[in-house]
């Protein structure tokens, strides 16, 4: 069964460092998303990506964040200069159509020290 994969599963970094979180969405999907979940809190939307550009972003997704689909399979989230408050689980999701189900990856646990 097709699934969304994410690497790495865990990432520890120092404050101010750049991190890149990687995702491989389901192969025939067209819509790609990043969400994050701070420990003990709700899953919250960060950004959506369609047709090789950002279609929507939340207030959290400031200039320190960027997304890219560098090739036909990978979808990346870059945090340019990490802050302590960026520590969270980051989930990638993809869907095949406008209103269709979003399937989530297993997540990357990011810890900023």
């Amino acid at each position: 069964e097709p699934e969304v994969t994410q690497t790495p599963s865990h990432q520890v970094t120092q404050m101010g460092q750049e991190v890149i979180l990687r995702c491989v969405p389901i192969s025939n999907h067209l819509y790609f998303y990043w969400y994050r979940q701070i420990l003990g809190q709700k899953v919250e939307f960060l950004v959506s990506f369609y047709n090789n550009e950002i279609s929507e972003k939340s207030e959290i997704f400031d200039d320190q964040f960027s997304v890219e689909r560098p090739d036909g399979s990978n979808f990346t989230l870059k945090i340019r200069s990490t802050k302590l408050e960026d520590s969270a689980m980051y989930f990638c999701a993809s869907s095949g159509g406008q209103g269709e189900t979003q399937y989530f990856g297993p997540g990357t646990r990011l810890l900023v020290l």
Partner: protein, 112 residues
């Protein structure tokens, strides 16, 4: 403000003791409702999509129902392996794609 509210926050059941979880929402531009299961340290696992009031979907011991303002996840004769956090999410329609607005979840513990 778009809101998805789940109750109860936590639920402890004995194996075989049926119950229901509630999800109420005030999401403008709502196009249906999604239920996910989340195990500790894992990503949300898709369970059900409901698109219109009156719709019902079933999977093993789970049944999801939808009204105009809320959804229920009914768990019949639960087993310990049903222990997880159950999340509901309202898809907020954007020009391209949907932004999911999640509730805080219901933590379910089923004891044998």
């Amino acid at each position: 403000e778009d809101q998805v509210t789940q109750s109860p926050e936590a639920l402890r059941l004995q194996e075989g003791e049926s119950s229901s979880l509630n999800c109420s929402y005030t999401v403008s531009g709502l196009r249906g409702l999604f239920w996910y299961r989340q195990d500790p340290g894992k990503g949300p696992e898709f369970l059900f999509t409901l698109y219109s009031a009156g719709e019902e979907k079933e999977k093993e011991r789970l049944k999801a129902t939808l009204t105009k303002k809320e959804s229920f996840l009914h768990i019949t004769a639960p087993k310990p392996e049903d222990s997880a956090t159950y999340l509901c999410a309202g898809p907020f329609a954007m020009e391209y794609g949907n932004k999911l607005v999640f509730g805080a979840g219901t933590i379910l513990r089923v004891k044998s």
